[in-house]
């Protein structure tokens, strides 16, 4: 019997995402399903955003309005995708990722459908700008967080695979043009709404990670997933006993939680095959719990402002904001600069295509490298950013087609590198438990940069009358961005001290009331130990 259990566990080797209850195979399947959904979200969302320019012309002619008014629609759509993130984070935490994602898909689909009836620009601003923007935000947030929750050991690579969907968007432009030529913009929007509706079944693939374990029947209280080869606790059959090791964490010193998790699941000699720091109870290798969980009894506030009190959040957001600016500004101005140097539009468009392909490939490579865990992920992130900044600073020296092409390729490689790591770095810093709030607020600040970026770039050009300045600006942003990571160890130590203090006071209060499931809730646990855990065991 125990042998059977043992074989069962050994038969399923190290998977990317797990619950350790013997169905690791299907859970890995659900992890890839989440990645697939994220991929589709990227394809559709970025595709729609990029093809807005094609609709622009049709709207101007048919619906009327000046160029500036019509471009508001596009701006609202792309900025709400970020600015709506805190609100969406709240919704996600309340309802779960799957309903939010389905809601997002519904919003997008409904928005497209409603836009077919548009009669004026304000109508389109609401139906296409607002509805689509919020829908994209919901979809993106839910997909990103679910991917982070499900793929813990290979998050960077999975994230890169999902982001490679953006690389496919070069197909959507000719496709949209074809549709508009055949069906007019209204028919095209109708068909798009149908295509976006496909995100509903794909959202259903975001199976919620189990957070409430079923109550154990009193007799069986053992981890069925553990390999009880001479497991010391196996003998203790009392209902209360097995939970003790897990109840202990409240009093144990901070460095313990990971090993505590390991002890409850397996004999010390056996390496836990799932991530040792379960961020949610479901990841604990217990398949059931002996008593009702006392964790999270305090009611969660509606809007979680705790990220704003966390120095790690500011470190991350500083980096995110500047890296965003560093990415978007050159993209806008590369073709224009090529033209001022006398390169034809046709040749200049090669830059974009080559850059796109290189970026996709570089994302995948960077994700794979980061997952090997040779060093902390943010080291790679910072390195790519610095290299990107240097490349941008050297760009004004590129004055011929081959030199500009070299720049485009180098830029794409480094940008792909750091873009793939944004989400993994955030997860490393703050963990998955509170990812929603952190990602929400971080996206909000990035959204401000996204809104301000293009006008700023345009202003730079108007002021200096040369595009070279935009690249220098982007280079400066890219170099500023990783600066905040130097403060990370300091911030971690500060958090550790704060957590120590608060934990000791809590331990005194809670005593041994068996706060089962304390595990590794990252909001209280210092994350530096988690990082070490991850690199060793996960």
């Amino acid at each position: 019997m125990q042998q059977q259990g043992g074989e069962r566990k050994e038969g399923k080797p190290e998977p990317p995402a797990v619950t350790g209850d013997g169905s690791q195979g299907t859970d890995r399947g659900w992890a890839w399903a989440a990645v697939l959904h994220f991929f589709l979200v990227n394809v559709f969302v970025m595709g729609m955003l990029k093809t807005f320019g094609i609709f622009f012309v049709a709207f101007q002619e048919d619906v009327g309005g000046s160029s500036e008014q019509v471009s508001w629609i596009g701006s609202i759509m792309s900025s709400l995708r970020f600015l709506g993130a805190p609100l969406v984070a709240v919704v996600c935490r309340r309802m779960g990722e799957r309903p939010t994602s389905i809601l997002g898909a519904g919003l997008v689909s409904g928005g497209c459908l409603l836009s077919t009836q548009a009669t004026g620009v304000p109508f389109l601003c609401v139906s296409m700008g607002l509805l689509l923007g919020m829908g994209f935000c919901c979809l993106y947030q839910a997909a990103a967080v679910m991917t982070a929750k499900r793929c813990r050991t290979r998050l960077a690579f999975s994230n890169a695979v999902a982001r490679s969907g953006m690389g496919l968007t070069f197909l959507t432009a000719p496709f949209t043009q074809l549709l508009i030529d055949t069906y007019g913009w209204q028919g095209t929007l109708l068909i798009f709404s149908g295509i976006m509706l496909n995100l509903v079944p794909s959202s259903m693939l975001l199976r919620p990670v189990r957070t409430q374990l079923p109550l154990c029947p009193p007799a069986s209280n053992e981890d069925r997933s553990s390999v009880p080869k001479g497991h010391p606790e196996e003998a203790t059959n009392g209902a209360a006993q097995p939970s003790q090791p897990r109840g202990l964490p409240s009093t144990e010193p901070p460095a313990e939680p990971c090993s505590t998790g390991a002890v409850t699941t397996a004999a010390p000699g056996e390496a836990p095959t799932d991530s040792c720091c379960p961020e949610t109870i479901s990841e604990a290798t217990k398949s059931c719990r002996s008593f009702p969980v006392l964790k999270e009894e305090k009611p969660q506030p509606l809007v979680d402002f705790s990220p704003l009190k966390d120095p790690l959040f500011f470190i991350f957001t500083w980096s995110f904001l500047f890296s965003h600016l560093a990415y978007f500004v050159p993209i806008f101005h590369l073709v224009a600069r090529a033209r001022t140097l006398g390169i034809s539009s046709m040749d200049a468009s090669y830059f974009i295509s080559v850059a796109g392909i290189t970026e996709t490939g570089s994302q995948l490579l960077s994700g794979w490298i980061a997952d090997q865990n040779w060093t902390k992920k943010y080291h790679y992130h910072a390195a790519y950013l610095v290299l990107c900044g240097v490349t941008n600073l050297l760009c004004p020296l590129a004055t011929t087609f081959p030199l500009l092409m070299t720049y485009a390729v180098a830029f794409a490689i480094f940008c792909g590198g750091f873009l793939a790591l944004v989400l993994p770095v955030l997860v490393d810093l703050v963990g998955v438990q509170k990812l929603h709030s952190y990602l929400g607020f971080a996206s909000f600040f990035a959204g401000i940069a996204a809104v301000g970026g293009p006008p700023l770039a345009g202003w730079l050009y108007d002021y200096t009358q040369t595009y070279a300045c935009s690249f220098l600006f982007a280079g400066a942003c890219a170099l500023l961005s990783p600066v905040s990571f130097f403060l990370e160890p300091l911030a971690q130590r500060w958090k550790l001290q704060k957590a120590n203090v608060s934990m000791q006071s809590e331990a005194i209060l809670q005593g041994s009331s068996g706060r089962a499931g304390f595990g590794c809730s990252h909001s209280q646990m210092p994350t530096s130990t988690d990082l070490q855990c991850q690199s060793k065991n996960c």
Partner: protein
């Protein structure tokens, strides 16, 4: 339209004033123009242009020891229509736009083709069907309301200039609502099929997991 009188004259440059002039001809294509007004050192012709037929290239050729030639190009600007058809739906309205880039025409007229004939569109007669926007002289908008299948076809926008008229062609294609609806419904059907499939799969795997758990628990108890 009203006729315009144009006078064209050509003069030999001073440094050639020594040259003995044998002949001066004014031609339009192969056609020679007879009445040449000669003044002291220039030769001119008078033209009355009232229609496009008289437009073209007029050349003045001065033959002496050498032959010199100069050309005047009388033309009206080309009006661009749209190559790709404008697509609209039955019951909806469509806007056809014509622009004249550098020159401002005197008037715009719209024609629709009925069979092989071109019929002028009179918007004051059919106010609820056609609206012509004349606010900007360089641009004309024809808005057609309550579209039906009969409105499908070629439309011409004609700009009248002093020298003549210029036409641009546009095509209007009317689709019925069913046309894009079919692919849409096909996609929705596909989604409607996928959703229960995924639900079923999830239900099945949950059941399987529950069964496995029960089985394992039973084995444990043994």
């Amino acid at each position: 339209g009203s006729a315009v009188k144009i006078e064209l004259s050509c003069r030999l440059a001073d440094k050639y004033s020594y040259m003995k002039i044998l002949q001066v001809t004014w031609k339009r294509g192969n056609e020679t123009i007879k009445h040449i007004n000669k003044t002291e050192n220039s030769w001119g012709i008078q033209l009355t242009i009232s229609e496009n037929r008289k437009l073209g290239s007029y050349t003045c050729t001065v033959t002496g020891e050498e032959e010199f030639s100069v050309a005047f190009h009388l033309q009206v600007p080309q009006i661009e229509g749209r190559e790709k058809p404008v697509i609209s739906y039955e019951g909806d309205s469509a806007i056809l736009i014509c622009k004249s880039h550098s020159y401002t025409p005197i008037a715009w007229t719209w024609y629709m083709t009925n069979g092989s004939e071109q019929i002028a569109i009179n918007d004051s007669l059919m106010l609820d069907k056609y609206i012509i926007d004349r606010t900007d002289a360089n641009v004309t908008h024809l808005k057609i309301l309550k579209l039906t299948k009969e409105d499908d076809g070629a439309y011409w926008c004609e700009a009248a200039y002093e020298l003549g008229k210029s036409k641009g062609k546009l095509k209007l294609k009317i689709l019925s609502l069913m046309v894009p609806l079919k692919p849409f419904l096909a996609i929705v059907a596909e989604v409607v099929i996928l959703v229960p499939l995924i639900l079923l799969f999830e239900f099945y795997s949950k059941k399987k997991r529950a069964e496995d758990e029960k089985e394992f628990d039973q084995i444990e108890q043994l």
